[in-house]
Symmetry: C2
Subunit: 306 residues, 2 copies
């Protein structure tokens, strides 16, 4: 990398994603100065204590003043409110971006508030963990993961510069339109999360199988679900409320398939089950070949817990 991509970057929200960006930008020298703001005094105090950014401001509008890049890193449902608050203080020629997991709703909420002469380049890094808050970020979060930009007609130079920042943080960059992004993510992330939450809720509800047994005997499968279902409730509430149509569509397809498998179990149709389970293996092979996961059994957790 040859010097900073932006002079001053303002992070609004100081959780997992913003924190990881702060660590990564610092490690790679991608910004001359990183300013940050979070709504709660507690998060701001932690950010100061651990030196997460160069300067923590008391309000969002203050943070964006003079910034070349403004990153909205709050739950999707809070984006519009934040955009309204910072809009009057944005520098002409600055770029506003976000990291929200849904893109259409963010564009609809944010774009109308931004003044002429400010570029808006929505983005979504496909990287995360089940942890949240100002202490949860780490510099390598985005390494070898995808970041999807949704330029939506934005200025080409502004888009390319943001792409440089994401590449600098280790991500691979791709572009997509908002609707397609929301559908792809409904399949690869949003619906799987809802299903995991549901299954863990069912286990929690079952009185004959006590909680302690569910916990004690949680094997692969359920254990993975519990990790997914430990993600931040506010973030996920907002994802489902704002990516409603795509999620409901995929959920409809899911229930249809599930009912077919359920009927096969009830009628003892082993051939149907076997054929279905064989087909799904191919996707897994593709993911490993694409380098999105390791083939080590059980993710090499053998070395971690066993």
């Amino acid at each position: 990398m040859s010097g900073p991509v932006y002079d001053r970057v303002a992070l609004i929200g100081l959780g997992l994603i913003a924190g990881s960006m702060a660590h990564a930008m610092r490690e790679k020298g991608l910004a001359r100065e990183v300013v940050g703001h979070a709504r709660s005094a507690e998060t701001r105090a932690v950010a100061r204590e651990i030196g997460l950014v160069d300067r923590v401001t008391e309000c969002a509008a203050e943070a964006v003043e003079g910034a070349d890049l403004i990153v909205l890193a709050v739950p999707v449902g809070a984006m519009e409110e934040v955009a309204r608050e910072i809009a009057p203080r944005l520098k002409g020629g600055a770029t506003v971006t976000d990291v929200g997991s849904v893109k259409k709703a963010v564009i609809d909420g944010v774009a109308p508030h931004l003044p002429e002469g400010v570029h808006f380049v929505p983005a979504h890094p496909l990287a995360g963990t089940e942890h949240s808050g100002p202490r949860s970020g780490f510099a390598s979060l985005f390494r070898n993961r995808w970041c999807i930009l949704v330029p939506n007609g934005a200025d080409r130079a502004a888009v390319d510069r943001l792409a440089d920042l994401w590449r600098g943080m280790g991500a691979n960059v791709d572009e997509m339109d908002a609707d397609h992004h929301d559908l792809v993510l409904a399949v690869t992330s949003h619906t799987p999360h809802l299903i995991a939450y549901t299954m863990v809720g069912v286990a929690d509800d079952l009185r004959r199988v006590t909680d302690s047994e569910v916990i004690k005997y949680s094997a692969a499968g359920f254990r993975d679900f519990t990790r997914i279902a430990a993600s931040d409730p506010t973030m996920w509430r907002d994802v489902f409320l704002t990516n409603k149509d795509a999620t409901l569509e995929i959920l409809g397809r899911f229930t249809e398939e599930l009912f077919a498998l359920q009927r096969a179990i009830r009628t003892g149709d082993g051939d149907h089950l076997h054929a279905y389970f064989t087909r799904t293996r191919a996707i897994r092979r593709g993911i490993i070949e694409a380098g999105q996961d390791t083939e080590a059994p059980d993710f090499g957790r053998a070395g971690v817990t066993r």
Copy 2:
């Protein structure tokens, strides 16, 4: 450990579980001799090539001759057939056990074929990976995992001896009755697997989201599902066919909850979603405290692939 627990152990089936037992027994000196058989010439050849066991036999009946412990490590649906085949050659006083993921169906299938004077102690190690076959086993698979014994009225000394073997291989041992085992596993493993298979099948079906996009952008959530859905089709077909009642019961509860969440999304009931997602976090904390998983974000995969 003070010497072998069994003199001669016969493994019928030489896949992930039997192979891991062979490695673990050898590493800890738990058996004086381990004999093995698998139905296909190919598996037997691989087992010989890698020296998985001390001796590979051409038929199952031959393997069990003179054995003190016989381990049935084939898919649940094949257990009865194998029991019928080996029954005439079992040594008086020998113990027959299995490692099947379902217990009631295995007991119903196997017990009637075993002669008087042979002990039957069903078991289920709660450990596995998505890989299978004679090359997939490793000695540490059972370390710190649970093995559930379902004594079903068997001789106490025979049960205790089998428990010693499992402890010797690193497992924690517990006892349960068959029906309860099958219900607990329907919750913690079988239904989650069915759901993961379903979701991956839905993704595979969707024509607007091409396979390559699903693979390319598979993030946490879906990626975990694909791993689960890469498990052996025959094993899982048999699990669902033989644990039908418990699986259908839990599936019914699952769909009920899923419909409630789906309605909350449709009507925009964010409070319902938020409350549900908050409740499921507690189970995750329990699992980490119980040592069944690590708190490292994303299972510490950061260090593996990122």
